[in-house]
Symmetry: C2
Subunit: 194 residues, 2 copies
DNA sequence: CGCGACGTTGATTTGCCTCAACGATTGTGG
DNA sequence: CCACAATCGTTGAGGCAAATCAACGTCGCG
């Protein structure tokens, strides 16, 4: 039952009957993504929402001056995409790159719209997901306001210890909005003071 | 026809028949909000989504050190709320305050859920709104990364000249993430160099 | 009029970046 | 299986954008 993970995920929000489960299973595509390869690239429309079965991916973009900025780091059982590109079906401005060999399940924009038309329960599911994603992003933005780099790191490390272990430090730094050198200095200071 | 503005707003996303329009009109409450009064306060659950017919409001929160941070500035025909509190129906962490005497139209959480159950078209509308709001907030966050305070101000002033005129400068500064003193210096520099 | 809200200006401080050089580890082709 | 190159992390010196602090100007309003 390859789609079990993603169906369980959905049933946390809405309950589904057999017909709905089958309709959904039919539109899920499972893929293996090799480390360092991309599922979204600037200039191309992001056509899928991606659910990570296992592995790790990140989204990031590159400013005109050439520096990388990580927008999201996602691991097992999270979703990732260029949500702006997906929603508006316009060319992406982000890269979405696998940090490890990963297994993902994807559903395409067209199939989402279709299944939402056919089954209002999915309309509801995607409304709740969008609301939750938005609320979560608002909250993250809030909780970072007025914090120093050290405070942001401590909070993140406490919240997502698995990510700290699995993901290279310079990517964490880029996600937390600081230089890798500065994160290194923060960690040194924390290690000596504990 | 008091509900005209908000119905027009909805019909930009989905088309409604007479029955749906009537059902929606029935749950809209119109209120006048006096300058300096609050429609959301920390500790209380945010029970409404608020559509501004005319006037200006902002949402902000206060960090433990006592400093104010403006999250959103909204004027005629925009929506505002503590979206996190609304979505999860948990106590708010934001204030939402009127900056001018304003006229708003509100719909309650319970009524939104009810009308979504009864009419899938509204489920669709609120999904699209949540998706758009999320995509927009992502995009704003993106476009600010790696920018100096001056660049952020110039961009905002170009995008929303009406807001620059109508809203006190220290609130703009707080929204753009800089001190009021520094915004003053930026404006002085820009005035002399043009 | 006088008070409070808002904006300005200058002096000083600081959090974090940039640059540069140097380990440590990993992996990869010969 | 080793050599060499990437990749990643560390350390220190110097610099800058923006915050903080403090004082003063100005306007509208009760």
């Amino acid at each position: 039952m390859k789609d079990l993970a993603i169906l369980q995920h959905i049933e946390r929000f809405v309950s589904l009957n057999e017909e709905e489960k089958n309709a959904f299973s039919a539109i899920v595509e499972e893929h293996i993504i090799k480390r360092k390869s991309f599922i979204v690239q600037p200039g191309f429309v992001c056509k899928h929402q991606t659910h990570i079965v296992r592995g790790a991916l990140r989204s990031y973009f590159i400013t005109p001056d050439g520096s990388e900025h990580t927008i999201a780091i996602a691991i097992d059982d999270w979703w990732i995409s260029d949500f702006y590109s997906y929603t508006s079906q316009t060319p992406a401005s982000l890269y979405v790159e696998a940090l490890e060999d990963s297994v993902v399940q994807q559903i395409s924009y067209d199939n989402v719209e279709r299944i939402c038309n056919d089954h209002p329960r999915f309309e509801r599911f995607f409304r709740l997901v969008a609301q939750k994603a938005f609320a979560y992003s608002q909250r993250r933005a809030l909780s970072n306001i007025g914090k120093t780099a050290e405070e942001r790191y401590l909070e993140y490390a406490e919240m997502y210890p698995q990510i700290i272990q699995r993901i290279p430090q310079y990517i964490i730094a880029s996600y937390l909005g600081m230089s890798p050198e500065f994160l290194s200095k923060i960690r040194k200071k924390l290690a000596s003071s504990s």
